[in-house]
Each structure stands twice: as C-alpha cells, then as structure tokens.
Amino acid sequence: MSGYILRRGGQSLVALMALLVLVFFLSRLTGNPTDLYMPMDASLDQREAFATKHGFNDPLYVQFGTYLVNIAKFDFGDSIFQGRPAMQAALEAFPVTLRLALITMVLALGLSVLIGSLAAYRPGGLFDRVASLLTISSASTPDFWLAIVGILIFSVTLGWLPTSGTGTFWHWLLPIGVLLVRPLGLLTQVVRMSMISALAAPYVKTARAKGAPKRRVVFVHALRNSMLSVITVAGDQAAALINGAVVVETVFGWPGIGNLMIAAIKQRDFAVLQACILVTAVAIFLMNILIDFAYSRLDPRIRG
C-alpha cells in the first residue's frame, strides 16, 4: 500500500510540475501588467522602465528560470499590485473557499443520495417526476442571477438575511444555497440513474431473492454500486468549487481564492495567479487521490 501511495504521489508531483509550466507559459501569452499597473498618463519611458525592472522584457526562458530558482527557495514571488508575497495572499484566501466547497459538497452529496434513491425507488412515480423537475430546473438557473435575486428577495424585501459579506451564521445561508443548487441537481440525476441501473442488475435481484429486506437492497447493495459514477461527478463538481466559486464569491464579496484568482487574471498579476493555482492544484490532486482510493474500496476489482 505504501508503495502505491509513494508511486501515486510521485506521479502527482510530475503532473503538478507540468501544470505549473503550462500556466507559466500560457498566461504570458496574454501580455504583461505594465499598462494595467501604470497610470494612463505615464510616459513610454516610464512604462519601459517598469517592465524592465520587473523582468517582463527578459526572454521567457530567463523569466521561467528565475521562477524555478525562486520556487526551489520557496519564494513564490511578490504580487505586483498588492506589493506583498503572492503566496501569503493565496493562503489567506484559500481556507474561505475550502470551507465553502466542503459544506456545499457534504450537503449536496447527502441530499442527492437521499432524493436520488427515493426517486429511483419508483422511476416515473410522482416523487421521481417532481424531484427530477425541481432539481434539473434549479441546476439550470444561472448562479449569478440566483444570487442577485436571492439578495433582493431575502435581504431587501423580506429583511431576513444579510445581503452579503461574512461574519455570522446567517451570512452563510445565501451563498451556500446558491452554490448548492447545481451540484445537487447534477448529483441527484446521477444517483437516480445509477440506482435505476443498479436495481435492475442481477446481483440485486439475487439479494432480493435471498430475502434481503427491500430497504437494505436499495440503500446498501444498489447504492454501493452506484457510488462509482456519483463520486466521479462529485469530484468534478468539487474541483470546480475548489478552483473558486468565482461568481458567488464576487457577488457576495467573499474573500475566497476565486475572487483573488479572477483579479490576478485580469490584472496579469502572474505571481498571484501561479500561487493560487499551486494551492488549488495541490488540493485537487489530493482529492483525486482520495477518489481513486474510494474507487478501489468500493470495487476491489479496480486497481487504478
């Protein structure tokens, strides 16, 4: 087992390096921050001086070399715009996003397994139809629209919840609610479909024939088998959330990594961008290792 983990870790490290190389070179296709940083009335000479000072006039391979050397010294560069270490900014923002993502995914998984199994219990039945319709329609609503309408209804008109920001328990409700609808809708559909398949599979019939109670058949045997695809889709959704729930973070003013990343992308603040991606990538890679582990536990025949 430890051999597996070691090998797996080594591979992930290589992939991480590949990602960093990719991000470094691709992001520099989009110009540099000189014009965005300097005031509009700065002269051409001043712009040149700025670009040279920050190394943007060096050939790309030189810039990359500097980057690698600094990384080896655990120096991830300074944010040009914030004038402080980029990693500091990334690490400050990441826990906020991680918390949002975790709570959302736990709620989405729990609710979708419950609703999805109940719906699959009797496909085409009333509960199935209503639940499917509701989850699909909620999952196909643009989240920024939902967020703004939510604020107007619950905060301005009804006055029940704070509009935005962080602080109390109440500040969590709207953002989590908005974040939840999409993974919930997708996962419910996936749970429902795999459960329907699983319930039709021969081994479930066997279990039934052997006299296992109905509820046990649905919730243990069938569910266990349908978890494979559920975990895949959940992993995909979780990765999207870890990469920053950008829309929700911007509308509600949450200081998460999505907010930081979009600002860095728009400002070409490469150091911050690279630091953010490094942090989220490590989280996503770890999650994928966990998912593979879960695969092999759920179905011992699978060895990634």
Partner: protein
C-alpha cells in the same frame, strides 16, 4: 448524511425563528462604506489611485495642499503658505502643532523624508509616476516649519502638484509598501482584514476640528445592485458607483460629476478617417440627447473637450456638435464624391466593464453610425487589449478605428491631459499638428492668464479645426447615502472621501 440533515433542519428552524437578528445594522457614529472593489494597497504613495484615495486620502494621510472641487483653487492643508522664489524654487510654510498618529511631530524633516520616499524608484508609486515623472525634487529644511523645494525644470503649477503629495510618518519603511499607513489625518488606520474590510478609527489628537464620525468600516462588492441593496437594507451607509438604473430613489441617490470624460478617439491618420468631413460626420451622427437620460444618466453634460469645467484651461466657448444625421450623410456624400472610401469598415473599440452601461453605449453608437451610412464594426476588448491599442506604438497597418476612451483629470490643470492625449509626442495621441504642438508647448511653461488662454486655444483647435475626437459626455457617478447621514458627493469624490465632511443627522 445524518449529520448534514440535522444541520439543515437546524438551519431551517433558525431561519423560521429569526425576525431580524442577522446583520449588524449600521448605527450611531460608526459608518460603513461600500466600494466597488478592494484597494490592492493602502500605501500613502498610491493615494492617487481612486480605490486607495477613497480610503486613506485626507483621512489617514493628508496632502500639502488641496484643490477646491467647486472652483479649482488651491487651498492650504499641511502647507499653509507658499511662494515662488525663482522659476525652479518654491518656499513652503508648514502647519504647526501637527502630529503623526505614532506621536512624532510633523515638520520640515518629516516632509523631506516623505518626499524622498515618494520619489524612491524602488517603489512603483503612482503619485511619482503620474505627477513627478522626469522631475527631480530637492527639499531643504530652512526651519522647523519652513522648507525650500528646488526642481530641475520650472514647475509653474507646483502648488497644484502638491495637492497630490501625501505625507506619511517618517517611520514608514523606505523601500517597502506599507499595509498599515501612519499619517497626520483625522483617522488612524486600525486594521485591514484582506478581502473582508478595512477599519479606520478617529484620531483624537488631530490638529483640526473633531469629526462627527468615530469609525469607518470599508467593505467592497462588485455588483452595483448589491451595493445599492446594502444601503437599502441598512447594512451600509454610503455606496459608491451605483449604476443609473439602480439609482431609483432621489432621496438617497445623489449624482455628482465624477471628473471622468468619455470620448471616441478618432484614428486620424488612417483612411477614411484622415478626411475631416468624415470626422465631422462622425460627430454629427451622434444623438447625444437620445443617449442622455437613457443609457447615460440625465445629469451628464455633453462634452466639447477632455477636461471638465472648472479645470484651468477649459474653454467654455466651445459648442457640442448638434445631432444632424442629414448633415452627416451630406458630408459623407461629398467626401465619397471626391473618392474617399467612406464605406470602408471602421472598428469601434469598446472595453468590457469600462463604466456602467458602457456595453450598451457602444452598441448604441454603432447603431447611430450604421444609420448614417457608415460601416462600423463593434469590437469589445478586455482591459489589457484595450491598453495595447491606447498607447503608442500603434500598429502600422491597422484598420481605421474609433476608440472608446475615458479620462479623468482632478488636478485642476489641463496640462496633465492635453500633452499625453493630443501632442504629437504624447503617448496616446494620434494627432500630429505643428500649430497644436506649439500651443501646448508654450502653455506648459506659461503661468496665469496666459496659460489658461493658450490651453483654451489648444482645445479650440482640437475641437473645431482638427476634429480629433467625438467628445461625448462629462460623466456622473451615483452614490447612495443612508438617510441618517449628511453627505454630498463632489467632483473630488471619485478620488477621495473625506470622512470629516460626513455629518450625522
């Protein structure tokens, strides 16, 4: 799974029980201000950036002089008197009995340190780049509260420039940006929780009058709807940059000239825009009255030049081009008859998220040009691309373009606008006119009436003889102010928010 269910149940129960306990409502003499974006930094030397200035300028760190937003006159702040010894030398008297928040006194030495830091090339300070580019400033201390400032070239508008110079405490690190600025202002910088908020607290040993507001919390939300909603729900007291359509309540929503002027820069050297009749037609084809009160606020002022009224050099005699589509068509017909390819595709360069409703504005402009018979294609750009087209060097074989541009000049003097935008050597200028260059060059070294007049002539030449742009509007911003406060935004509001001027009813 069981856990999450019970959590949800609890949440539902709480929500059902709660009437209104959730958000801390703004009350008393503490105010909450919501900006449209978080400042990247709060260093005193970046105070000319509007997001930074709104937080710290004149609140935490003060400037040497101040511009009266109504008249454009230079008023004393940390400097009480100034006089010119010779073209390159000025003498300043400094305010006495002023203390920094850390207890050190404000004097000539402190100012010398502050100037050295401001002009430190190791830091990319905006104030240095924007106002002191290519200028060396030598400060010598004559007495505890008197200094002499020598520059390498004559700077006739030095007192105006001093309105940008913020003075942080001598303890501020010389080579690093400060995230905890210390100044002489009526408020101390209490805390900055990155991403979340900035808190200022009243400074009880301030030299001036004691302000009514005891503390101010700054937060930021990107969506105009959300900012407006925060004041409506009582969570915030002042919201900046509300979109026209969100400014629905005349009792709380105030418009103010925000010093920005919007124009289309015409790509004069490129066919068919090199023909003056085409450029005039571009001006006559715009229905400014139709745009006003719809996509633009009803309070915007049709512009004739890139500086706002009240700026030294603004020419009040210029008239906006009237909406006359027939005349536009006629001019184009004349040009076409002489072989000018007026149907050639012209690119209208817009920019995403430029100002509220800017996307709609460019689409409307495009429609107006199409109606006049021009072949205008809209191209939306992302800010970095937009800058690429703004600055020289321009691409050699570019398509003729109309470039949506916005400019603000709060310095009170036209020189900061006119050189960069119109002089043949200006970094953003497409013009190359000897007579105009000469006017600008002479104006820049002149003083008093002569300076004003020369700038006015220059603007006249740009507007009437060269037709270098399609001037659109002097823009307004909207702030929503909670009814419990007394605060009227001014021309300066875009770059600063003086908490000391906010009164509580």
């Amino acid at each position: 799974m069981g856990k999450s269910d019970s959590l949800l149940l609890k949440a539902a129960a709480f929500a059902a029980l709660s009437v209104m306990s959730s958000s801390a409502l703004a009350a008393g003499s503490d105010v909450t201000i919501v900006l449209d974006m978080q400042p990247d930094q709060v260093d005193a030397c970046q105070a000319s950036k509007s997001q930074v200035g709104k937080v710290i300028k004149q609140n935490v760190t003060e400037t040497l002089t101040e511009i009266d937003p109504a008249t454009g006159k230079v008023l004393p702040r940390l400097a009480t008197e100034w006089s010119q010894v010779d073209p390159k030398t000025w003498r300043l008297k400094l305010r006495e009995n002023v203390k920094f928040h850390d207890g050190t006194p404000f004097n000539g030495e402190a100012l010398k340190v502050a100037f050295a830091r401001l002009l430190n090339e190791k830091l990319d300070c905006e104030i240095r780049v924007k106002y002191f580019g290519g200028l060396t400033v030598d400060v010598s201390v004559l007495g505890e509260h008197e200094v002499e400032i020598k520059t390498n070239t004559p700077v006739p508008i030095l007192p105006t420039l001093l309105s940008t110079v913020t003075v942080p405490a001598p303890s501020t690190p010389h080579d690093d940006y400060s995230r905890q600025p210390v100044g002489t202002g009526p408020y101390t910088f209490d805390s900055w929780q990155a991403g979340k908020n900035i808190v200022l607290k009243r400074f009880d040993e301030y030299w001036g009058d004691k302000p009514a507001v005891t503390s101010a919390t700054y937060v930021w939300r990107q969506e105009s709807t959300v900012r407006a909603a925060m004041v409506a729900s009582g969570e915030a007291d002042i919201a900046f940059n509300i979109a026209v359509q969100d400014a629905t309540d005349p009792k709380t929503d105030f418009s103010y000239l925000n010093a920005e002027t919007t124009r289309l820069r015409i790509d004069v050297p490129i066919v068919p825009l090199d023909d003056i009749r085409v450029r005039q037609a571009l001006n006559y084809a715009i229905d400014r009255d139709g745009l006003k009160g719809t996509i633009f606020s009803d309070d915007v002022i049709p512009a004739t030049q890139l500086v706002v009224p009240g700026t030294n050099g603004h020419n009040p005699d210029l008239k906006p081009y009237a909406y006359d589509p027939e005349k536009a068509k006629e001019l184009l017909k004349q040009a076409e008859a002489e072989g000018v390819p007026v149907r050639k595709e012209i690119v209208l360069v817009g920019r995403h998220n430029f100002f509220p409703n800017s996307e709609e504005a460019v689409q409307a402009l495009q429609a107006m040009y199409s109606a006049a018979g021009l072949n205008v294609k809209l191209q939306m750009t992302e800010s970095s691309e937009w800058y690429d087209s703004l600055f020289k060097p321009f691409a050699e074989n570019r398509a003729p373009n109309l470039f949506l541009d916005q400019h603000d000049n709060t310095s009170g003097d036209a020189s900061l606008t006119i050189y960069a935008k119109y002089h043949s050597k200006g970094g953003q200028s497409v013009l190359n006119d000897k007579e105009l260059d000469d006017l600008i060059d002479r104006a820049n070294v002149a003083t008093g009436e002569e300076r004003t007049e020369l700038f006015q002539q220059a603007f006249k030449r740009i507007h009437e003889d060269l037709v270098g742009d399609v001037a659109l509007f002097h823009m307004v911003g909207f702030t929503r102010v909670n009814g419990r406060l007394e605060f009227k935004p001014t021309l300066a509001t875009n770059g600063e928010l003086q908490l000391a001027q906010v009164k509580i009813r």
